[in-house]
Symmetry: C2
Subunit: 549 residues, 2 copies
């Protein structure tokens, strides 16, 4: 490169790396509009009508790297027309299908500050105060969970909250990595050093199983456990078939079956890495009997992990806290900040009761996370990480316990109301009662409901299969229309001979979702059902019902 | 809760979830200032002088959950005074110590848009167009890496870029998860189904090693490999001691030692999960002889992974691309977007040459990432993930290949200049020549340099240890002063009898770092050294040098 050309390049880059005057009007305008009126911006720019995936893909087929730079305003225009317009209105009060919801307005400028500072929390040299801030956030949530257990008092937290050698938990991108981290710790603690064996972290699984005399390693959870547990069993080398699925009673783990399966596993010389309780199942929002599980885990000296990715914030509520009784006995707990702490996606945490637990996965290197340092990267599965803890810190302070309590109480209350609306209608069936703020239901025309009452198992199965088709089609049609959104899932319904059925699933976490919105969602589903029932789905359902008579 | 109280709560939450009029002046003011003049904002608000960690921690000791809400303006004030002020000025042109650098100004409003949309890329139902956009970003970078290999042409990319069943790569939070994902895939492909064995993903490592007749599983990399590989070997159940460290010649892998160690491992019936080449080592920025490694990997049918977290973007440069020759033969490549793609922390990718490679880690569930869906979560280690691909998409389009080429060329050019500045000074020693835009050096007073020339290995070791102390203290003093920042690391120096020495490490990625800034950094180090040399460090060094005469 000639000297002159290099100078010109540098000047160009200087402009790109520093804010230019008045040049970026398109992007700046979007920025300002979002700050001023986010809800309006989203309503105005997100097109609701769903495009077929193949159409969505059309603008993203080019694999050649763009050769020349383009103006920021060009890219802003593209993003507005092709990306913002075709994104999902997750903040809409009528989008109650998933766990990604609206976020408080102050999170957005905070997110910009976070990115402007661009700290990297892997080590204190690139994160400075973000290190103790993250530790504090972990400490506060640790205390939310364990603060009612004996000895988890001021003195305990003063000692551990900013400790250099141990940690009360780790921050990560979300619940999957949190669950994986908890099982990683549990696995490494089960296969601890013994004799010549230096521990699984150093010597690997094979050597560990030999040293401890295990033929298998398993993790146990109810059938409603999150899919990340299977993935974790794969990653950690246990194998997915070694995630032992325990039966459920009303979507909560069956403690008798659990005891039975523990005995079975012990008999085949399996090491039980962890017993996982779920506080708020992803599909139905149920909470396992955590106290009973804790007792069984203690009896058998098994690591007890609670997946509270969704439900742990229920502890904010004086009224509903009791639903999670027993969580304070867990060895580790997963909690997602991007769910019921209302922080943007991706922020999760794995908390550990014993401040020494994370020692089993400690790592160090020469240039960073040196031994004895305060570097958070010593204990995290991830390396470089953004300062998302700042957003959680702000949520905890701006909303306070009472603010989060309101959100929890409102959500659970609303789920109860919605359940009543469903039950009092003649053409909807509540398929799972809400325990937290989730429920499932389906549309069942009156004649199908009557037929189901009289049908034997085989005939009922055919009706339920037809209803599952109907539910799937209603959900897809509703999603395509794009004004409201509920999700769907599929599991065995005890009230229908344990037949696997597709059901609507709703998550009532957006405080702006009103009773009226819920009524409109049911109305839309009813109308869609009527239309669909005049087609092949209706034909199949009527035939299945007719066969009963 | 009474009806009236519930109404009041709802009203309060409505305010928190929608932008209030004129209430949040403090936060809005910060937001505006960042948009208008980011560099000025950071200069003005970040206090340079380093606080002792214990002082930093003082404001973050409280473990009790705040009970009552606070005003957003209160929290904004706290963040400005206690967090922004005490964060690291990663964007400063004088902070050349780590891989976290300045980012182009347009990334900030984009980041806010991303958070405002709050998409979750785990499944298309919560990410819609973000799904094909992410696939495109992966496709473009895949082509950057593999586009020069035979058959990786338009036709190939048209077929695979938006494929529903397979993927060219995965997006993740950063290089560590990318390396872990690549080794996870490699491990699962090595222990593929065979006879009764359903594959490691299903049956676990133990069964896999039995089925394939391996006594150990190992990964091989040069001594300069990133620490995330050790962590991955722990997580994946291989054990850290099964990360086989191959010797280096001038900080690049020694192919003869590699061949020797492969034979050794085969002789002990070890399955070789992967051979890892490094394209830009974290400590010195050297590139392994990738072509030679690829040939050896092919000969032994070993998965060849290239950790290009730092160096892969060198491919943008016509001038320097050749340094990475052979990368197009890799089975998988890690690239970090939050490094040389200049996106905020955390965005990384693992790319796979074979579109079927990721099948070995595919997961599905009932309510999301259903089989046959377009859901990106099918292949990712993480679950919920933000739409960071939007920022990468924008970087690729706004800067274009030519923009990134300028950044690469400037950085490598500047490293060459800085190396000359160091070499032409009488009191600094260039400890590693830059190949990319990293180099290491140290301060060596003239008398120590003379003594080292005459010293035998033992005497030289003592002098080098004293110099290491000096280097460490200079680095800490410089960091504490907070105006400039270089990092330090420690490794064996071939030119000093392979004695492990502490050295300064610089990363020249910020285009705003000028020759003048580099001169000032050396001046500051020289002054600090003079001051320190009059103390105990100087005493130790002089004594070690005197012993030579």
């Amino acid at each position: 490169m000639t000297e002159k050309k290099a100078e010109a390049s540098l000047e160009h880059l200087r402009r790109v790396f520093t804010v230019p005057e008045g040049e970026d009007s398109a992007l700046a305008a979007i920025d300002r509009e979002i700050s001023r009126n986010l809800a309006g911006f989203l309503r105005e720019h997100i097109v609701s009508e769903e495009k077929a995936p193949s159409k969505l893909e059309r603008d993203f087929m080019e694999s050649a790297l763009p050769e020349d730079p383009c103006f920021v305003s060009e890219q802003a225009k593209f993003l507005l027309e092709k990306v913002v317009a075709q994104s999902v209105h997750t903040a809409s009060p009528a989008f109650i299908g998933h766990m990604t919801s609206a976020i408080p307005y102050f999170m957005l400028p905070l997110a910009k500050i976070m990115f402007a500072l661009n700290q990297n929390t892997v080590k204190i040299e690139t994160s400075k105060v973000f290190t103790p801030m993250e530790s504090q956030v972990i400490g506060i949530l640790h205390r939310l969970i364990y603060g009612r257990a004996a000895n988890f008092d001021d003195k305990f937290y003063r000692r551990w909250i900013q400790n250099r050698d141990h940690a009360l938990g780790v921050f990560c991108s979300g619940g999957t990595v949190a669950n994986l981290t908890a099982l990683w710790v549990a696995r490494n603690r089960l296969l601890a050093p013994r004799g010549d064996f230096a521990g699984i972290s150093e010597d690997g699984i094979m050597a560990g199983m030999r040293a401890w005399g295990y033929d298998e390693l398993v993790v146990m959870v109810s059938k409603r456990g999150h899919y990340s547990l299977k993935k974790s069993c794969d990653v950690l080398g246990l194998g997915k078939r070694n995630l032992i699925m325990v039966d459920t009673i009303n979507h909560r783990i069956d403690l008798d079956d659990l005891r039975r399966k523990i005995s079975e596993q012990k008999a085949r010389r399996a090491g039980i890495v962890a017993l996982v309780g779920v506080a708020g199942t992803t599909e139905t929002g149920h909470v396992d009997p955590l106290e009973g599980m804790a007792a069984i885990a203690a009896e058998h000296k098994i690591h007890f992990h609670v997946d509270g990715a969704w439900g742990a914030p229920t502890l904010f509520s004086d009224r509903y806290r009791g639903l999670l009784k027993g969580i304070e006995s867990a060895d580790s707990v997963t909690i997602d900040a991007h769910k019921q702490l209302y922080v943007p996606v991706g922020a999760g945490m794995a908390l550990f009761k014993d401040p020494a637990a994370l020692d089993s996965v400690e790592h160090s290197a020469q240039y960073i996370i040196r031994k004895g340092s305060r570097d958070l990267g010593k204990h995290t599965l991830e390396g470089s990480r953004p300062g998302m803890a700042m957003l959680v810190h702000s949520g905890l302070h701006v909303l306070g316990r009472k603010g989060y309590e309101m959100l929890i109480d409102l959500g659970i209350g609303k789920a109860g109301q919605f359940a009543k609306m469903i039950q009092s209608s003649s053409d909807f069936e509540l398929t799972t009662e809400p325990e937290l703020n989730l429920l499932t239901y389906r549309h069942v025309p009156l004649y199908a409901r009557e037929a189901l009452k009289r049908a034997g198992a085989a005939a009922a199965a055919r009706i339920n299969d037809a209803l599952s088709d109907l539910t799937g089609e209603i959900q897809k049609a509703q999603r395509a229309k794009g004004k409201t959104f509920v999700s769907r899932t599929r599991f065995e319904l005890p009230q229908h001979h344990n037949h696997p059925c597709t059901v609507f699933r709703v998550v009532l976490a957006n405080p702006l979702t009103t009773r009226q919105v819920l009524g409109e969602i049911l109305d839309e589903q009813r109308e869609t059902a009527e239309r669909l029932l005049s087609g092949p789905v209706g034909h199949k359902l009527r035939a299945a019902c007719a066969a009963v008579n």
